[in-house]
């Protein structure tokens, strides 16, 4: 957990709500972007209706709300490389990874090769990942 004087903890941001029905998704994204400046070990989870946050082709014109979904594709630039999608949540909603944005990051340790940020995990596997965290923020 210690890296010199700097404490590095495992922070998890868990997104469980659909993007526009409530403000949780937008404000969770705001936390994640600020948190990136703190050099912590960050992972994101999208589960339950939260999987809708990453849907491709979002269009909010008719509801007068800002479409913030393009921001997710910038997460790699914020050094956020671990994004977990719960498999059962997708299946229960008739969705697959093809319906979601393809999120990548550039690996500085591998000549900036583009790599997948998204990890599809089962509910059981997700429980293990949650168990490894120091701080879990649930939105």
């Amino acid at each position: 957990m210690e890296d010199g004087d700097q404490v590095i903890k495992k922070f998890m941001y868990m997104n469980r709500k659909s993007p526009y029905g409530t403000i949780y998704a937008l404000e969770s994204l705001e936390v994640v972007l600020i948190a990136a400046a703190f050099d912590q070990d960050v992972s994101l989870v999208f589960a339950d209706d939260g999987v809708y946050q990453l849907m491709k082709g979002q269009n909010t014109e008719e509801i007068g709300m800002k479409n913030f979904s393009p921001t997710y594709s910038a997460l790699g630039d914020y050094d956020i490389k671990k994004i977990y999608i719960e498999k059962e949540s997708l299946e229960e909603r008739g969705l697959s990874l093809d319906d979601l944005q393809d999120l990548k990051y550039e690996d500085e340790d591998d000549d900036w090769a583009e790599k997948d940020s998204i990890h599809l995990v089962s509910r059981e596997e997700l429980a293990e990942v949650i168990d490894q965290q120091d701080v879990v923020f649930s939105f």
Binding site: V7, K9, F11, I23, Y24, E27, E30, V31, I34, A35, A37, F38, Q40, D134, V135, V136, F137, S138, F139
Partner: protein, 130 residues
């Protein structure tokens, strides 16, 4: 143990704020430290100085203010969430050309960095929300 608390829901509408308060109070009574409560989403409304609940009900913002005063708990309202919802302290009101402010005693407005910092410094971070 050193606790940080995140409150994500507003007063009265949702039990989260009551649960967070009871948790904080009990933890302190048991000898633990609650060094910061961060209010986010509608949770920022816990910090209003303008709430006038019926006299036979609990006064949620006052209850937080008293906890802060008695036990030096740092009550922080997220500035971005607060501005959206019309929660302004004197400085913010001035900066935004508003004629009044409504942040109750013991609360202060600051950035989301204070939440991350609480997560780093706390032994346990406890989230109360929906």
């Amino acid at each position: 143990m050193k606790f940080g608390i995140l409150v994500n829901e507003g007063p009265y509408t949702h039990q989260a704020s009551d649960s967070a308060f009871e948790f904080a109070k009990s933890a302190i009574e048991k000898g633990h430290e609650v060094f910061r409560v961060f209010f986010y989403h509608d949770g920022v409304n816990n910090g209003t100085s303008l709430a006038v609940p019926p006299q036979d009900d609990r006064h949620i913002p006052n209850r937080w203010s008293e906890l802060a005063k008695d036990h030096s708990v740092d009550l922080v309202l997220c500035v971005a969430a607060a501005q959206r919802r019309g929660m302004l302290d004197e400085d913010e009101a001035k900066r935004n050309g508003k004629t009044s402010n409504n942040v109750a005693e013991g609360f202060r407005i600051s950035g989301l960095g204070q939440l991350i910092e609480a997560g780093i410094q706390a032994d346990r971070m406890v989230v109360f929300g929906d």
